[in-house]
Symmetry: C2
Subunit: 435 residues, 2 copies
Amino acid sequence: MSPVKIGLLGLGTVGGGTANVLLRNAEEIARRVGRDIKIIQAAARETEFPGVNTESFEICDDAFEVVKNPDVDIVIELIGGYEPARELVLQAIANGKHVVTANKALIAKHGNEIFAAAREKGVMVAFEAAVAGGIPIIKALREGLAANRINWIAGIINGTGNFILTEMGDKGRDFPEVLAEAQALGYAEADPTFDVEGIDAAHKLAILCSLAFGVPLQFDKVFTVGISEITQDDVVYAEELGYRIKHLGITRRTEKGIELRVHPTLIPNRRLIANVDGVMNAVLVHGDAVGPTLYYGAGAGAEPTASAVVADVIDIARVLTSDPENRVPHLAFQSNALSDDTILAMEEVETAYYLRMKALDRSGVLADVTRILADQGISIEAMLQKDPVGESHASIIMLTHRVVEKNMNAAINFIESLDSISENVIRIRMETLDS
Amino acid sequence: MSPVKIGLLGLGTVGGGTANVLLRNAEEIARRVGRDIKIIQAAARETEFPGVNTESFEICDDAFEVVKNPDVDIVIELIGGYEPARELVLQAIANGKHVVTANKALIAKHGNEIFAAAREKGVMVAFEAAVAGGIPIIKALREGLAANRINWIAGIINGTGNFILTEMGDKGRDFPEVLAEAQALGYAEADPTFDVEGIDAAHKLAILCSLAFGVPLQFDKVFTVGISEITQDDVVYAEELGYRIKHLGITRRTEKGIELRVHPTLIPNRRLIANVDGVMNAVLVHGDAVGPTLYYGAGAGAEPTASAVVADVIDIARVLTSDPENRVPHLAFQSNALSDDTILAMEEVETAYYLRMKALDRSGVLADVTRILADQGISIEAMLQKDPVGESHASIIMLTHRVVEKNMNAAINFIESLDSISENVIRIRMETLDS
């Protein structure tokens, strides 16, 4: 089957990330879709693309050329802003192209018009990347939670704002100072208004509101307060009262009508969402059947956003490739493309360990134990000794660095054979879950 | 268009929940699908169904009758266990029915056979509810994260086990005591082996592994350690070292092969997943493009599980109802079924507030402020007074109970007009996010 052919508008941060992800993961994506996906043409204003693999497609400087290209099946719009993005998307639709966009401003403001055009023309328009970057929140709301009457949504949906509030809270810094750093780090734009004043969050919230409650997009009705007036004092006092300040987008169905508001919000610090820090995003959705669910991940950045863009491309490519009932393979990959990768025996798995042992409290036992561990190549990260009142044995607790399980098995056997060790060694595996 | 017709196998906890959700949310579901979904027949061993709305469908005692019923389009299997569930599902497929199941044991053990039968017959088999209950994690892995090469998954995927570990940690109780309580509360079965020894988690992890890495289901290769040997001492020592013990299912792609293991695990207590407590589930997925993402929600229970079952039913009904490119409406609901619900003006929104004001430190000012608040029906939940060194003004911080914004606007106007108050009153809205 011939590849699905992509025309890419924009080769900046997200455009470059999208090209890289499509190329790097091409083989695995083809196993998922049952067909190759290929960028054939891109439009960009730049002439150099550091870090972007551009070898396999043509680059032009006129985006309108791409939306007219008769070979293009799917147009990916990553230019941003209202115009010419709107005009390009509408022309792509008119030319019978499917469209994927990450443009929240465009969807929030012109979505009603764009969707009507797409329905008329029978093409698909997808916009997962428009809200909360790499978090598949649009799919969760439209499909995963479709059984529910949604009660409310509360989300941290602007990473720059959350980075600023986190820094103010953790490091006691004031707003202007942290904003300057966010700009230096490239999180905030030179004009930070969209992030800091909540306009970007309002775009996303308008989309979430429509998805949750089945109302047309109404960006102009979002009540919006930014974070620029939050002071260090407020962060400290809130903490003292058991709360954290987050910049939330909130939409809720009430008997009187639908609430639609973006503003700094005190939330109890024991809530999971209160502990979402830095540039990360999280969306808390409350459905009548499922109760609260939370979706957490990177809300911006080249590859996280590309993750959502390419997922939309795969969705469309699957529709173009398979019968409707085979659209998504049962096990995510085509049944004839499953791999026979080995499942590793536990003896071969590498992990860190917590060990607890009961030792006769006599000199030499610790030396014996550490020697046995060293012989197996196991180094110790931390140690505690506990001497319970009234017991003749001390408890020794150790955290080790990572080691292959078979070495740990051998070490534990040796340790348990020591006269000075009573009872079995308790072993609990340990993971940092950080990369 | 005629309704999509459902045959329901099992009217226990999840079956009853599924019937209730389908009936209660029928109107909103029809707005999503563009068509009604109706249970026409159910099979149950019981004869009474407390709390379940069974008025609108026939109930028989022979599940095989339902899978043969020529009027049934979709069979929902909620009996659980290996047999006769396997036989019923295979017969349903042979009879051309689409199948939705919440049965992790069945999918983990017989999924390869069931999927092959479904492909052969051209029917759909869906199993979102089989892993992590109401959390749409299967959809996230198969579709939302499809752009990624998945690196690893770590999940709290058994609520009973997590409840036990949470109670041991928070309340200093020992394993046997908490297990007894979990059984009394109905979280753990009379035979708690599946939960406590990690077999239930292993079923789910086998499914997640296949979805992540595109390998066949291999339940028999899951390395599994339960939580019954975790003692209160270990929980306390781990906490002292900065870790929390969670019963995790972990699957990871390494150069040597795929890790596939369920065991108690020490994880740093600052990780979001370390703070997932009680019966809740959470799945942390690390993809090469998106980085870490986390999915949190109820992993069991009647309606949370029904949420996933009915989402699968809606997925199938959408395929049966619409052209492939219109399967999921842009805004989650059919474009001709959008509602004109009012967006509430902010003045009408009710919320709690944090207020901070600068007061001349003289008697009477607090009395004035509280009187103004009381006049607007605003009651105070907490108060702090701060007297910064070297300033002539004191800061008064108040948390209020919920009130309509227009009353707060009026109160703030009155407060700001007091001679004893300098500067504007700072107001930050407050939400508990708990229901």
